[in-house]
């Protein structure tokens, strides 16, 4: 399905592009349900909150060549919240990096699709992540590499909001601001839930935008399920700063009984719930 990728020079209207992304996102969410239903393991809540961000990047914004995944000039994408690998794998398969048939092996014994992104075995994965707080420093390094090699590729890092409690993010944020890395975009999947409770009840992050502005970043805040808003934020004229996108999302977005419920961090739907979830997603 590599034809799903945006074509260079696409002059469609923002609305047309957003409508197309919405359709892809619905298919991706169904793919996620099927992917985690097999092993009965996964992180469906976070997978669903981050889906629209991933779809917007991979099917419109990013410069990629799925048939040549190590192309030097490709845009870099790092999923720092690596537990949402089912979403990333579904996106990569749909984009043509590998066969969608492989998704049925998710977390099976000896599968290349382990529970966190696997760079060594899976095309399109830039970095093994999973332990939190690793993605942004790697993204900063990739962005600096582009700067000193005078390449114009961009680097995108998706962070979980709970993940921002890890200190290494702030080391990287401070340094990216200092280096004025305008080729770096960090997106926080701001679903306001972490594994055990709400972020603001655990170790509060607000005022989140002000914190990143203070570190020298340009901050945008958008509805993380609004593809047109995401497109506009990614395509905003670049200034001399790294960009931080607060994407306000709903954990479990798209399925009524999962949405915004803390227990669905890594709960797996029953066979009946799988059918209901797919039905709800298909109706959208």
């Amino acid at each position: 399905m590599s034809t799903a990728l945006a074509q260079p020079g696409d002059t469609s209207s923002l609305e047309a592009r957003a409508a197309r992304l919405k359709e892809i996102a619905a298919d991706i969410r169904v793919s996620i349900v099927n992917t985690i239903a097999g092993p009965r393991m996964g992180h469906i809540g976070g997978d669903f909150s981050v889906t629209d961000i991933l779809v917007t990047l991979f099917f419109d914004i990013m410069r990629t060549r799925p048939a040549d995944p190590e192309w030097a000039e490709r845009d870099r994408f790092i999923l720092s919240k690596g537990h949402c690998s089912a979403a990333l794998y579904s996106v990569l398969a749909t984009a043509g990096y590998f066969s969608p048939d492989l998704l049925s092996t998710f977390m099976a014994p000896l599968s290349v699709l382990n529970g966190h992104p696997n760079r060594r075995k899976v095309k399109g994965v830039e970095a093994n992540t999973g332990p939190l707080g690793h993605g942004l420093p790697i993204g900063v390094g990739a962005a600096i590499a582009a700067t000193i090699s005078k390449s114009d590729y961009r680097t995108f890092v998706v962070l979980g909001d709970g993940e921002l409690q890890e200190g290494s993010n702030w080391e990287a944020a401070m340094f990216a601001g200092h280096r004025k890395l305008s080729n770096l975009t960090a997106i926080v999947d701001r679903n306001r839930l972490q594994q055990g409770a709400r972020t603001e009840d655990t170790n509060s992050l607000e005022p989140l935008g002000d914190k990143w502005r203070a570190f020298g970043w340009e901050v945008h805040e958008v509805d993380g399920h609004d593809h047109a808003a995401l497109l506009a934020a990614f395509e905003a004229p670049r200034i001399d700063k790294p960009r931080f996108l607060i994407a306000n999302t709903r954990k479990g977005k798209g399925v009524s009984f999962i949405e915004d419920r803390v227990e669905w961090h890594h709960k797996v739907p029953s066979p009946e719930q799988v059918l209901q979830a797919i039905e709800e997603l298909r109706a959208q």
């Binding site: 942004l136 790697i138 990739a142 340094f175």
Partner: protein
Amino acid sequence: MNDMSAPVTSGIETFDCRVAFAETLAELARVDPRIVVVCNDSVGSSNMNAFQKEFPERLINVGIAEQNMVGVSAGLANGGFVPFVCCAGPFLTGRALEQIKADIAYNHYHVVLCGQSPGMSYGELGPTHHSIEDFAWMRALTDITILNPADPKQTRDAARWAAQANRPIYMRVGRFKVPAVTPEDTVFEPGRALTLREGNDVTVIATGVLVSCALEAADILASRGISARVLNMMTIAPLDEAAVLAAARETRGIVTAEEAIITGGLGSAVAETVVRHHPVRMRILGVPHFAPTGSASFLLDHFGLNADGIVTAATELMA
């Protein structure tokens, strides 16, 4: 840190491996545009002032932030560069251990982690600043090649090899001034022990600053009628198991000597090898526990990490 000369080398010309390392890195950078240095406010202590002056864009100083330093180096490797991460050993391997595991080793990025001032170089500063756990921690990460050059020639050769090895590497860059122990015509072979002296009674396997002590010990043992084989084990991982097993078969016992915690270091690696294939009597010389304060040379003597300590251990094995 007043006394940076090993006590066993008085009267012998000694060299600073950090100078050899810095010169080599600049030579490499002149011909290989992929070479960059990443450091943590350690430009001066890593001897990288000249590199920074010559290649200002290719020295990335992240400030005092070691987790970010290692993550940034992974990203630079992703972007096609070959980062040499120059940082005091304890804060590189310890403070950023999970980043080294997940970002470098498991991603299999070509990053050269350079533990500066290893072992007990910062003796007086206390155990927080002693880098003696590095071998054990890095050995647990199976993808990382661990190099511990014994002298300036090996330091230069190790850096040149590391620049093109296309794999994760940890190497010590010593602060201790050491004598030259490697013949100039020696061809560098990572993963191979260098036999510096043949011998049939006992084998001394030493690494880093202890290699010159092992040679001195072999002289003393020879004067007492004991023929000691001396191996310079520059590569801690992967270990040269063939050389170890030859020593186990051909001599009556093995003494290992390293400026590192005994648990999990060179001695452990040798012991794991012989116990699997050819059990033999061993003495493992190293640091047994958190060290007290004192100069590096004082601490080496304190723990018997010198020629006399090696002679005593070898003599016990022959008993």
